[in-house]
């Protein structure tokens, strides 16, 4: 079982400008245990790892390695003291072979060493073989499949026999079989007496592997315990799902007969080697409000980027009669498929009014005024703040501005990506009311992506569940509440 305390994190805090990424984070990491760090997007998990590794410097708090305070040390010194990290995205040296990449991890930090000792080459080979790269030692990274690149990252991290191993998103982009293999490798690390800290979006995979789980939200710890304990924790469930999953019966007369507005057939998206979307079939009818729910990394944003023409894809995406593949992203937007992205993409140095005007740039002056009046009616706070620069608005106001700007384009299909991300509950209420109004008053079709199921359900005629790039469930909200409330997390 677990042994001595290797890492002690005490009251760690980190701010990036005005945004608090981590506040008052404390926990211990013991030798011979795997601790999983979970939390929704923006909860500070990756930041904690960066702070421990010395890549970012904490504003306050302590990090002790075997009793020695390492906070404030440069990253390379921390690395030489026995901490290593596997980053979320593989970082190989493209011009070197696999063997050379691993050798690099074994080299001492010396300016004068020109020749590498023979033992280094041998040791590198051993390590590579241990993680399963024995067959590709002399290949270059660009020729390797995704999983092998991740193996190489793991090999580099364990090369110098670290006491503490930090792994950021070990399972992202892996198939279930590969996940099992990696989990076994990570277990071996633990059995060798190392202290392992994991961060991943896939709560299930972390739960299966971790001895202890710590849940984070908005920069601080909200729960700690065994995997089961944490997943049943009220606060955790609320944070992930948004609360109790209640379904409201949607009275949508004749929605089943409405013409199909958006259709996706077998859509696939690859980022390099990673398959981000796997044969997604989707349909949205006129006037329907459809939700896509899923955790981070499930592929919701990728899906929307494909529809908007921002990433290349395989398969077919049709809007009405038109195949969207032949159009540029801007013309897709002009054609009525308006995408309000997760990152909002506001013009932060322009005023609220200027942002909205740009949204209505394709309309005639009178039409634009009418549209503007309508948006101001929907979001009175925007009218109040119309002369202010967008970056001075609060998070909730910025979301409203993004939504308002999208509405200025008179969308036929509005694609809304995670509007509730990082917003306080009070704002959620306002947003919810605004969306309800849109539903009642206007002929608008909505495709909504959300992690917060409680927010999404009342506005949905139909629900799709996206997991690891695949549609794993679809149906109406009532059925969703019945079937998914226990199994979702």
């Amino acid at each position: 079982m677990s042994g001595a305390v290797r890492l002690q994190v005490g009251e760690l805090a980190k701010r990036f400008g005005g945004v608090v990424a981590v506040k008052n984070m404390s926990f211990d990491l013991k030798a011979g245990e795997i601790v999983g760090l979970i939390g929704p997007n923006g909860s500070g998990k990756s930041t904690v790892m960066s702070l421990i590794m010395g890549i970012a410097r904490a504003n306050s708090g302590t990090i002790k390695l075997d009793g020695v305070d390492i906070s404030g040390w440069p990253a390379h010194r921390i690395a030489r003291s026995g901490v290593s990290i596997v980053f979320q995205h593989s970082r190989p040296l493209q011009r070197q072979t696999v063997l050379e990449n691993v050798k690099l991890a074994l080299l001492p930090d010396s300016l004068l060493r020109l020749a590498t000792e023979a033992s280094v080459g041998e040791r590198a080979r051993e390590i590579a073989e241990r993680v399963g790269l024995g067959g590709v030692l002399h290949r270059h990274p660009w020729t390797l499949p995704f999983a092998d690149l991740r193996r190489m990252e793991l090999a580099k991290a364990v090369a110098r026999d670290p006491k503490v191993v930090l792994i950021d998103e070990p399972f992202a982009g892996l198939t279930p079989t590969e996940i099992k293999v990696f989990s076994d490798l990570i277990r071996t690390l633990r059995d060798e007496g190392r202290a392992v800290l994991l961060v991943d979006h896939s709560v299930k995979s972390v739960a299966a592997l971790a001895d202890r789980v710590i849940a984070m939200y908005l920069g601080e710890r909200i729960a700690e315990g065994s995997a089961d304990e944490v997943m049943q924790n009220e606060t955790v469930r609320r944070v992930y799902i948004g609360g109790k999953i209640e379904a409201v019966e949607r009275k949508s007369a004749g929605a089943g007969q409405a013409p199909t507005l958006l259709q996706l057939d077998a859509v696939e998206v690859f980022y390099g080697k990673t398959k981000a979307l796997d044969r997604v079939d989707l349909r949205v009818r006129q006037d329907e409000f459809v939700s896509i729910v899923g955790l981070n990394g499930a592929g919701k944003t990728t899906l929307f980027n494909a529809i908007s023409g921002l990433v290349p894809y395989r398969g077919a995406i049709r809007f009405g009669e038109r195949d969207l593949r032949s159009q540029t992203a801007a013309s897709i937007a002009r054609g009525g498929v308006v995408h309000c992205p997760e990152t909002r993409e506001l013009f932060v140095h322009m005023s609220v009014r200027e942002n909205l005007d740009l949204g209505g740039g394709h309309l005639s002056k009178s039409e634009r005024q009418r549209q503007l009046d309508w948006v101001f009616d929907l979001f009175p706070i925007l009218e109040q703040r119309q002369a202010q620069a967008a970056r001075t608005l609060s998070g909730g106001e910025q979301q409203m501005l993004a939504l308002g700007r999208a509405l200025m384009m008179q969308p036929k299909l509005l694609i809304l990506d995670e509007p509730t991300l990082g917003l306080a509950p009070v704002i959620l209420g306002q947003l919810s009311k605004a969306i309800e109004r849109l539903r009642q008053e206007h002929s608008l079709t909505l495709l909504l992506a959300e992690q917060n199921v409680t927010f999404a359900l009342p506005h949905s005629d139909r629900v799709y569940v996206l997991d690891h790039g695949r549609i794993t469930w679809q149906g109406d909200p009532v059925r969703f509440a019945e079937e998914m409330s226990t199994g979702y997390l």
Binding site: A330, P341, F347, M350, E354, D357, G361
Partner: protein, 291 residues
């Protein structure tokens, strides 16, 4: 007496610097490109203007116009032949694109400089003043042309301001400089916006070139220096900030003029160089930069 002379001369040269720098910073803000062929574009405008006005006998006004058009054409050539192919090339890794564009525009600038010298001349050329006569400002006799140049430079800058802040395309350009993805999602074609941006830049650089020719004269050997001074001014003012570039232009223009009058003409560029080094060390984002 001296002071007023410095004030007046400095104003004129600074206005021209400002005009050229605004174009340079616009292209960086919208297109992300540090165009090292900048001086070359100005030189083409000056030379063609001189040629049209004098040798081809079109007269000063028409010649100037032709010069500006030549600057526009050269700017488009720079974008379509050098910058865009490099930006779109799949053989170049995205992190290296910036360096390749820099080197590419540098080479292109050299080609323009040498090509122009070969085709026409590498002696300084001047375009006859647009208006003649001398005006007396606080006792200093100044060519009326010089005043006109400063006025024209500011008129153009004013027009640009109107364009960017009052027209839809201008606002879209401004948006593109802040957030290219944002404007795409609002239905504006980036490819078209870039073409507009380079067109505006060409006109600005062209006007700066012909005006400089009419004020101090321009030679192909100036190309590098013109690029360097635009670059320095823009970095001083803050890459991407138009108002910053204008302020910096006046700082540099006056520093240079004062140095030339009070210390020695040969030491003209030194104080601004030193200022540049200081700023780059201590406040790399420049006076008003926001990147």
């Amino acid at each position: 007496m001296r002071a007023i002379q410095i004030l007046v001369d400095g104003f004129a040269i600074s206005s021209l610097y400002g005009l050229a720098a605004v174009g340079f910073t616009l292209i960086f803000g919208v297109s992300g490109v540090l165009n090292l062929a900048h001086g070359g574009i100005m030189v083409v405008a000056a030379l063609v203007g001189w040629l049209a006005a004098g040798e081809l006998g079109l007269g000063t006004y028409a010649g100037t116009l032709v010069g500006v058009l030549a600057g526009l054409a050269t700017a488009y050539a720079t974008y379509l032949v050098v910058v865009r192919p490099i930006q779109r090339s799949r053989a170049i890794r995205p992190e290296e694109t910036e360096i390749f564009v820099l080197t590419g525009t540098l080479l292109w600038g050299i080609m323009i400089q040498v090509g122009m010298a070969y085709l026409f001349t590498d002696n300084p050329v001047t375009i006859r003043p647009l208006i003649s006569g001398v005006v007396s400002i606080f006792g200093v006799r100044t060519p009326a042309n010089e005043i006109l140049i400063a006025v024209l430079a500011w008129a153009v800058i004013g027009l640009l301001w109107l364009l960017v802040n009052r027209t839809r395309t201008g606002k879209a350009l401004l948006g593109a400089s802040m957030n290219p993805r944002g404007v795409t999602l609002l239905g504006y074609e980036l490819t078209q916006l870039y073409l507009v941006a380079w067109g505006i830049y060409g006109v600005l650089a062209g006007i700066a070139g012909v005006l400089l020719a009419s004020f101090l004269g321009v030679s192909t050997t100036n190309a590098g220096q013109l690029t360097a001074s635009a670059f320095s001014i823009v970095v001083l003012g803050g890459l991407g900030s138009v108002s910053g570039s204008l302020i910096a232009a006046y700082v540099v223009g006056y520093l240079e003029t004062a140095t030339a009058y009070l210390i020695a003409p040969t030491l003209r560029p030194i104080p601004s160089l030193i200022l540049l080094v200081l700023v780059v060390y201590m406040r790399p984002q420049g006076f008003l930069g926001r990147r």
